[in-house]
Symmetry: C2
Subunit: 129 residues, 2 copies
DNA sequence: TATAGGGCTTCCAGTAACTGGAAGGTCAAG
DNA sequence: CTTGACCTTCCAGTTACTGGAAGCCCTATA
């Protein structure tokens, strides 16, 4: 299978697939003409990667997950540990964003948004020095 | 004032302050010895930038905010528009993260996390191909 | 058979916002 | 006069791609 077929079937951009090979996540075979020749297994791994990325796992975590995925003697505890660590990061990020959102939405609500210069948003940014 | 004093008083890293000068956010004077010499105004702008960044505004938005801040004939509507756009981005990000969190936390809950290989997390990643 | 197109290849550069480190000038204290 | 803490600039690396250039390969059609 050529790269654009794989892109169609996985939903990943062609560029991303090449990139994943560059950084060693996959190692598709090559045809005589130099074209990448993807197996069903490559396809599965790429789909796996796409899904893991869509859940926000970083590339390093994806690498580990893929290794565990391909290791039939893995312990599910190792997978869970990775997922929990990632969940903690997400929760951390959520807390930050919610904090930002609260502050910002309050400021937006109190700004008249007219042609006058007075602005509680700028006042806040300037005051918290 | 030298750069490390400014860093202390704004909470920004020295490197970040130099970076902000590089990209034209501030233009501190120079002493005879070549050292940056920060005015109170520079200090205010840096504090302003620090606060804006902490609310998640990107550098470009910060640049606009700083311009508005220094423009006494601004319209608060322009500030509000920037803030609302940023708020929309935050809400978008929050929606994505909450979605990730829900999926991931469900998967984590259903994973035994023992020394057996069976793992619903990997199963999910593999299935959604 | 020549050629036009589309797909494939590699490599280089750019993105956001810093951060780390190297090489070297400056200043105050002892 | 030396030591150590500052300061300077410049270069490289970070994350996960993405865009673009230059050029080979393959197929179909005139």
């Amino acid at each position: 299978m050529n790269i654009s077929d794989v892109a169609d079937r996985t939903g990943l951009p062609v560029k991303t697939i090449r990139y994943y090979e560059d950084i060693g996540l996959i190692s598709p075979a090559r045809s005589a003409n130099g074209y990448r020749s993807f197996s069903e297994s490559d396809l599965h791994m790429l789909a796996f990667l796409g899904r893991a990325r869509s859940l926000g796992f970083g590339i390093d975590a994806c690498r580990s997950l893929l290794r565990l995925y391909n290791d039939k003697s893995r312990a599910s505890a190792d997978v869970k540990k990775l997922a929990q660590a990632h969940l903690a990061e997400i929760d951390q990020k959520l807390a930050e964003l919610n904090q930002m959102r609260d502050t910002l939405s309050h400021l937006v609500d109190t700004c008249a948004g007219n042609d006058r210069p007075d602005c509680p948003i700028l006042a806040d940014l300037a005051s918290q020095a």
